[in-house]
Symmetry: C2
Subunit: 524 residues, 2 copies
């Protein structure tokens, strides 16, 4: 391929494979490899922005700024661009969630068809973690390659940045100056604040991937009740562990439709997860080697002691704002988030902040969009960014996706709420073989109640979609696009006109077709 | 639940479970069970339409007509509504395609993690067929329940219809009259026209499910090269059979983007499928018991004889128009399709036709929409239905989805075509661990080139999306909604503003974000 032959004459050109080897080496021996520098020294222009942090926010902000004709520099302590997501956060979580989905299927069909007998069998967590550790440099390498060769991003990696002032950074023994500074420092997991929190065997999503050195035992305590707690809890459960979830408040209260939430939680319970709501950890007790031995929990039915050698904490994340506060004095809020306006400007002139550092929602779309919006603001555009009405999702053993209003919220706000759902209310309850679609077909045929749940919430008066909810597989991507349409006023009549790709995971188009003929809409 | 208690006083009320038992019984002993009649004898109104056939087209047409305030009757020879799709067509195909996806994963990770050792192992086709046969009455029952209890559809099932004239039908010993007649008779698989075509062991999608009585041997010949041939061929291959595909023309020429098609076919070859293009069956030879023994094929490299006991023919479908031609004299075209205008009217006054009976595209969306449009026309609305610019998909071991133009077509029509794709062109070829998303994470980590391929085709001048293409999992549903947006003129800038649900199967939003800043768009 010709385009690579010409790249070959550039001495700094690395193939994706060469990048993977370099990143691996740098992760093992950061000091031996030293800073990885990609700066066009022949370009005499001032940097329009230095991004401190090359994660999702910093990298997408840099790409956007570059595309707008500006000049940027990323400085990152890791030897790769892309940040924590592909290294120890969202990407491994997706691998673990894939394993949870596959293992639930294997356990459900244990000993039938081609599935192995899973009775009483515990599968390795460490092998999956090791698979990830070996595999993650691939995506890292793609992002370095893409950033350098395709996006023309300048960077210094494997180097920490020292902020001298709002325009000046020291990194890798050099001084860099820029018109603006963009803080993209990310967030880190909040840790338990109880006795025994430093014992060996207490993990969060980051340390699980980075430091797990032995196979967890047969019981795992998960502390937390939101996305991360559930995603990892379901994975541990699927490996055959006894999982006990200690949830301070209510499990998965972020799912805003009652039936959808119940369906998701019922399936978790059915898989054997023990859920204790209103429960907190009062202490973690260790053995003689400093390893977790027991968790003491305060629960509504009294104190509970659980024997375990593995605790997973998922208590949310805290913005990494300390460095920026100390160096620049940027204002932060109570949650530790750097305060920004809709142009992503902090309290300090010429200093911007993006991504998890500016607080909730700590989601990928916001990281990337805030980065891009900061770039546009820096390049002179008048922008206004506030995330609103985004779609959302999480993994149990399933993919759970939602947007807009839940049924209860809709009924509180609208007079004539119409519900289209699958399965319908019926005397058999859920056990009826629909919905069915890709990756739920085996369930639909043999264990129908496991084939999913979905619901469309409509306003009968305007015929508009108010909310959509899905538990199953293969609908998550659709919710991105559907959400845009719903925000623009999507009606049941427009849905009924669409061309479905049958068997579609969301049955929304066909359910709409069955009811759209009614002048007075009816539920289904 | 109260709504069921009140239904209990209706003597004709059946729960979904009771429907399932009744349908099973009727399928085994149709004459003993006799016609299944749901007619409101107290309703003295004339039927606005009798639908002959209660498949997708007839059932959705009926629901729509009913919702508009009309009165309809469905007559169907089967004891369930929904037609061939859930009985022996699209639904079993989805089950087999799920198995193909699962088995490819199990073979790829054979003997590692929790996956069994699949080396040299052939898994049963008949067990999966039997699973389907047992499971299919569940969805059938839901549709009967929904049609009767929720959609107020009137029907006579398990009874054949005799057309007396354009307003009069005889069925189950009764005469029914209606203002109009809607022909919804569907289609049937085209059979091979060669010596030996009646030997035992020659199947199509319908007979596979209905009559398979023994386990196919180690080699399977698939005749055909489009959706059905590939979907079943990949399933047979995944069970461990040696699959030889005889393709008259080019395999999967309906995939209109060259790279996407190549990626999909390369993966089929990698799984061991032997593809012979420009090949036709010249004869099928049998053994002493009248069973397939050998297939003789004409190929570009000469005559080929293949020892096999199982041939799968997938040569397309032919509309079931004979009955309507004989009884009414409706006009048909060369393909046997009943000719209709945009109001779905045939050549005979007051006779309409819908679904597969009116020819290509024989897709679910067209069946359902044509049914609904016929209902609207019958109830006095001025409608105009012609399918155009629909999204499309098929299964290999993967889900392949596409919409709009392929790259080659786009370059022929537009001056400045811009491509965003994943993986990018790179010196490692495909083997780089991206794209990654739900259900491809294990591949992304350990066998990166298997993690999928995707491409967005844009017009650099207007910045509009011209086409989208995806091989992987979990994007099919999204293509339904994306297609509507593309038809309305979706631009890269609008995509870049959306909120992705990361890791999204289509990386289109983030790829757009990386390039949208450019005034002159560039490929990625």
């Amino acid at each position: 391929m010709d385009q690579f032959a010409t790249k070959g004459s550039d001495p700094s050109f690395l193939t994706i494979e060469q990048w993977a080897r370099k990143i691996e080496e740098a992760l093992e021996r950061p000091n031996v490899v030293g800073p990885i520098r990609n700066i066009r020294d022949d370009d005499r222009r001032e940097f329009d922005a230095i991004f401190i942090g090359g994660g999702a926010a910093g990298r997408f902000g840099s790409a956007y700024l570059r595309a707008l004709g500006g000049r940027q520099l990323i400085i990152d302590r890791w030897p790769f661009l892309g940040g924590s997501c592909p290294h120890n956060a969202c990407v491994p979580h997706h691998l673990f969630s894939d394993c949870a989905a596959e293992l639930m299927l294997a356990r459900t069909f244990s000993g039938t068809l081609w599935f192995p007998d899973m009775t009483g069998r515990t599968t390795s967590i460490k092998e999956v973690v090791d698979l990830f550790r070996r595999g993650r440099t691939g995506p890292h390498a793609v992002m370095n390659y893409q950033s350098k060769e395709q996006l023309d991003i300048e960077f210094v990696l494997n180097a920490s940045a020292r902020i001298l002032d709002a325009h000046t950074i020291e990194a890798a023994g050099e001084i860099f100056r820029a018109r603006t500074l963009v803080l993209a420092l990310g967030s880190k997991p909040i840790r338990l604040n109880t006795l025994g929190r430093d014992l060996h065997g207490i993990h969060d999503y980051a340390t699980l991937v980075e430091t797990l050195d032995r196979e967890p035992g047969e019981a795992i305590v998960v502390v937390g009740g939101s996305k991360t707690a559930v995603e990892y809890g379901c994975f541990f459960n699927a490996t055959g562990r006894r999982v006990i979830m200690l949830v301070r408040d209510r499990l998965l209260k972020l799912i805003n439709d009652g039936e959808t939430r119940t369906y998701a939680i019922d399936r978790m319970r059915e898989q054997g997860i023990k859920i204790l709501e209103g429960a907190t950890v009062s202490a973690i007790l260790g053995d003689a080697e400093g390893r977790v031995a027991r968790v003491v929990a305060d629960t509504p039915s009294g104190e509970l002691e659980i024997a375990t050698d593995f605790v997973f904490q998922a208590l949310g994340e805290r913005p990494r704002s300390r460095l920026a506060v100390e160096a620049l004095g940027v204002a932060i809020d109570d949650s530790g988030a750097v305060v920004v306006d809709e142009q992503l400007r902090t309290s300090i002139p010429d200093v911007y902040a993006v991504g998890d550092l500016i607080g909730a929602p700590m989601e990928m779309f916001k990281a990337r969009k805030s980065g891009a919006y900061a770039a546009r603001a820096i390049m002179g555009e008048k922008v206004s960014y506030r995330p609103s009405d985004w779609p959302d999702f999480l993994h149990t053993h399933y993919e759970v996706s939602w947007l807009g209003l839940g049924e209860e919220e809709a009924r509180a706000r609208y007079r004539s709420v119409v519900i289209l759902k699958m399965p319908p209310d019926n005397p058999n309850g859920l056990d009826i073989g629909l919905p069915a679609s890709d990756r739920t077909m085996l369930y639909a045929m043999a264990h129908p109640h496991m084939s999913g749940f979905q619901k469309l919430v409509l306003d009968g008066k305007t015929r508009r979609v108010l909310g959509a909810h899905h538990v199953g597989y293969g609908a998550k991507d659709a919710f991105q696009y559907l959400n845009v349409m719903v925000k623009k006023g999507l009606t049941i009549d427009e849905l009924a006109e669409m061309d479905e790709l049958f068997l579609n995971p969301t049955h929304f188009i066909q359910l709409s077709r069955l009811r759209a003929g009614h002048r007075e809409l009816r539920s289904l």
